[in-house]
Amino acid sequence: MSKQLNLTLSIWRQENAASRGRFETYQAKGIPDDASFLEMLDIVNEGLISEGELPIEFPHDCREGICGTCGVMIDGRAHGPELGTATCQLHMRKYNDGDTIVIEPWRATAFPVIRDLVVDRSPLDAIIQAGGYISAPTGTAPDANEIAVPKEVADSAMDAAACIGCGACVAACPNSAAQLFTSAKLWHLNSLPQGQPERFKRAEAMVETMEQFFGSCTNHGECTEACPKEIPQDFIAYLNRDFVKSKRVNRTMASRS
């Protein structure tokens, strides 16, 4: 038999990007402690709908921690109090009866609020697009194990590829920098043999797109703490290395075209 929680929620409500938002207080009564954080919001929304009020808009999709859609600031922490956990994987058994929970959307100038807790994270897509795809003609897809990849490299690329693009790193950063996201996306491709032909083109394009929207890294380390996939800071150092090298390499390349 699961416990039931009575909670006080302070939730950011905002009509659209242009309007002023404010915190509204809600009483969430009889929340089963088996519920996930998002299911708790679903229960609150059902109550609001039955009273004829507009439900609280919050971002969510797969609810199993792999799609990167969900994510809100919970009590001043991106994705809430559990480390390495997306909002959807946070469960109400981590809370006590009578707790007050403050829920705010991600904040960054490049992430305007669309409605309530939903923000526009499309600049992250712009960074991915700037990275392009492997456009060097290499013929048909090679056999799976034809290109030998050292185990260490495969592991490192896999760690980088774990990024789900939720934007918690930007949300947690006091400078709203997207370094952790960009470095993970960059290192995922730049560490592998398949990514080498366009390595430095990609580094320059992705970093310069990132800098159009986001701040710069001052090495606080808040991003890794917020990251549901615990992407390490190391990738940021690799990004710094590749970017500076790219300026030199791409200049040499330009002279050969």
Binding site: R77, V102, V207, F213, C217, T218, G221, N240, V244
Partner: protein, 267 residues
Amino acid sequence: MAAPTAANQGHTSSADRPLRATPRSLPFPFSLYQTSVGKKWVMAITGLMLIGFVVVHMIGNLKLYLGVIELDGVSDYDVDHYAHALRELLVPLVPHGVVLWIMRLGLIAGFGLHIHSAYSLSRSNMVANQAYESKRDWLAANFASRSMRYTGVIVLLYLIFHLADLTWGRADWFEHGEVQSNVVNSLSNPLVALIYILANIAVAIHIYHGMYSMFQSLGINNPSYNWLRQGAARSLAIIILIGNISFPLAVLANIIEFDPSLITAGY
């Protein structure tokens, strides 16, 4: 086209609205300084230069503890011999004071670039960031990392005061080139000593995060030594802190003294 509704009013994709335009690219390597990552490299390299200066300056100041020694027939405080030698570096290959001025110009350029990159990055970070309305819970950021802007400004103000105090001379007791006497005269005022102590705490805090941050900004990262980076930054900051605040304390405790009868007029 349908009239805008409350839901879609004025909403376009945020990716269509960059916060800043990409400027026309300058030739390499100046193109690096047009980017934030490049500015961080400049900040890290100039920071390393300035740390090198602070360390050498502190080691030079340790000569304050050595008292009077005799060198080439001149009996003077060791720190005054040292100051004299700095001006005489590479003499007679180059004229008197030239090497010192070359080093000073390097430091001034380093300071200029360090401050300009900090200012420019802070400005763009402020544009990119929006404050939370609720209380933030910091997990990794520490006091040093969050106060870099403030400790940086304190260090700059302190630098100006320090130059006015012991390089340009702000009071009657100041005598150009008489290091031991000037230091003792300045720091025997408890208020001035307090300024030096507080400012050097800010210097150490700034160097602690700066040194750690330097590793990341320059891409100095490898699992074989990453565990050493925090400790290296902390040890350096502590060594600089202890060394530098020892001088005002030693003057107040009369460990560093000036006695004109012990020296022969030399330089």
